[in-house]
Amino acid sequence: MSQTLNFYQDGATWIHRLNPVTKLAFVAAVTIAAFGVENLWWPAVLFLLLEIPAAIAAGVTTRFIKLVLGFFAPFLVILFLLQGLTYPDPGTVLVELGPLAVKTEGLVFAGTTALRLLVMVSAFIVLLLTTHPGTLMSAMQQAGLPPKIAYVISATMQIIPAFQARAGAIMQAQQARGLDLGSGGALTRARRLVPLMGPLLLGALTDVENRSIAMESRAFGSPRRPTAFTIVPDSVGQRLARWAMILLAVLAIALHTLGVL
């Protein structure tokens, strides 16, 4: 499990300063464009011309490559093994290995799917590397996301690290009572989860009541819209850019359907 639930890398580039909603629109636009156009190399072009420059401009290149590879490499191997060897539709057979067959169509299918996913995931990673989760939520709330949903999302991000800290404390407490963590086979290890997970879950769930009382006493859930403590800057230019990106993506699909692209 990762230590914290965020990828955010601090920085002061223009990509960091963009309104998160604009970056979200970018994610949506490239995803639409990547999936909407039937061409093997088109997603690769999007990746090389839009996403890699964005990562370089934001100064997060190293971590970007590391994260993209970390997610993508195992997936790529699995996808090529799966569709390369067992592609179900008829096609040109390159190599036959008993019940398995390497088909050109299978490799093309694996390649296209892999590249499309690469575009979608990398766009997300650019967004997450350059946007603080808190800023993302504030911006989404300013864009009209209901406060209850924003609360659930940001509270979850904070609760998972707190869970880890609490799990550590419970483990130490049980060890102090003589719980042996070191030895045993798989079954013993599984049974040992009970004294660790039990207090963790039960404690977390009994906290719910106190938290909801505290929140209601602070007018959570009142129909009046709360004002924001941090105002995320937005501009007319960015607002136009969002629509322009989505329109461009749709235009790419339209051009492709007409046979131009």
Partner: protein, 325 residues
């Protein structure tokens, strides 16, 4: 932004469900010809992504609009349980998911709409934090949360065997819902090598990618969801009954059966299982334990904080329950 809501929440939920169902039917009917052109799944993937995400978004908005604060504060914990367990599962490499325990938990406690919202938000948050690949699967979780609530409403979670059966049924539906996502967006492959190997086996046996993905789901999901139901029921039974009694849904539909064997409890069981017998049972108890009749007739368990005070019969029940816990 104006604070007034132009649409009632149920309209959003209905619209969201309609979009998801339309997307699904469209994909399943249209699929056979779209794969013929080699790599021609792009539009199908786009439609799957857009339709499922918009549908889930509408359901989240509709379900969250009227949600009481006690349920809202439960969601982050349920979602954290989902994400942590799912992430551990992916790291260990089990061919399961284990990412819907929290969803089932909320479905049982707070009803179908809350369960659906938990499921959808769970995968959205997992997607925007550590694992972007789980974002498209939020619709599967919507269905799981919804069904958990429905089965709890029908009383399937009162006994362990029926709870497991509810898990199996939920798993079958989940497999059919997630099939198009796996096939069109991910090309049948999976973050877990174990699950992908199952798809490969089914493709070798002659199924197409969609069929193989659904078949893979059918081998894994029923087991996975019955584990989720079982764990959720065990967790909720381990908690003091005061906790589940605070949720109106769990209280009104007595989602968790009382575990005592006293005369009162048996009367309550009959009351819970067969509504037709209600009058006669109440009448028969009335002679022995007059105060408890009102609790039984209300359909309440009588062992929680929601029970009427001042009634001596109810107090006795509380003591019995407390001793057993």
């Amino acid at each position: 932004m104006p604070t007034t809501r132009r649409y009632p929440p149920w309209l959003l939920i209905t619209a969201g469900s309609a979009i998801i169902i339309t997307t699904y039917l469209f994909l399943v009917v249209w699929q056979p010809e779209s794969l013929v052109g080699g790599a021609g799944v792009g539009p199908a993937a786009l439609i799957a992504l857009a339709g499922y995400l918009i549908g889930s978004g509408l359901i989240i908005a509709g379900a969250m609009a009227r949600m009481p604060t006690s349920t809202v504060t439960l969601l982050p914990i349920a979602i954290a349980i989902n994400i942590v367990a799912g992430q551990i599962n992916n790291m260990v490499g089990l061919p399961l998911y284990l990412d819907s325990i929290g969803t089932v938990l909320v479905g049982l406690l707070a009803g179908p709409a809350a369960g659906a919202a938990t499921g959808a938000l769970s995968n959205v948050i997992w997607g925007i934090s550590i694992s972007p690949a789980s974002l498209p699967y939020s619709t599967t979780q919507v269905v799981i949360g919804l069904l958990a609530g429905v089965f709890a409403r029908w009383g399937w979670t009162r006994r362990v065997p029926t709870a497991v059966a509810a898990g199996v049924a939920t798993g079958v539906v989940a497999a059919f819902v997630s099939g198009p996502i796996s096939a069109f967006i991910f090309g049948g492959a999976n973050a877990s090598a174990g699950r992908s190997a199952i798809v490969a086996v089914f493709q070798t046996l002659g199924l197409d990618t969609l069929g193989a993905s659904i078949a893979q789901g059918l081998t894994v999901d029923p087991l996975d969801k019955s584990i989720a139901f079982l764990v959720a029921v065990i967790i909720l039974r381990a908690l003091p009954s005061r906790f589940s009694q605070r949720f109106p849904f769990a209280r009104e539909h007595s989602v968790f059966a009382p575990r005592s064997a006293s005369v009162l409890a048996r009367a309550r069981d009959v009351d819970v299982l067969a509504g037709a017998d209600r009058a006669s049972v109440s009448a028969s108890i009335a002679a022995t334990a007059p105060a408890a009749t009102s609790a039984a007739a209300n359909g309440q368990d009588g062992d929680g904080s929601g029970a009427a005070p001042s009634a001596s019969g109810t107090d006795t029940t509380q003591d019995e329950e407390g001793g057993r816990l």
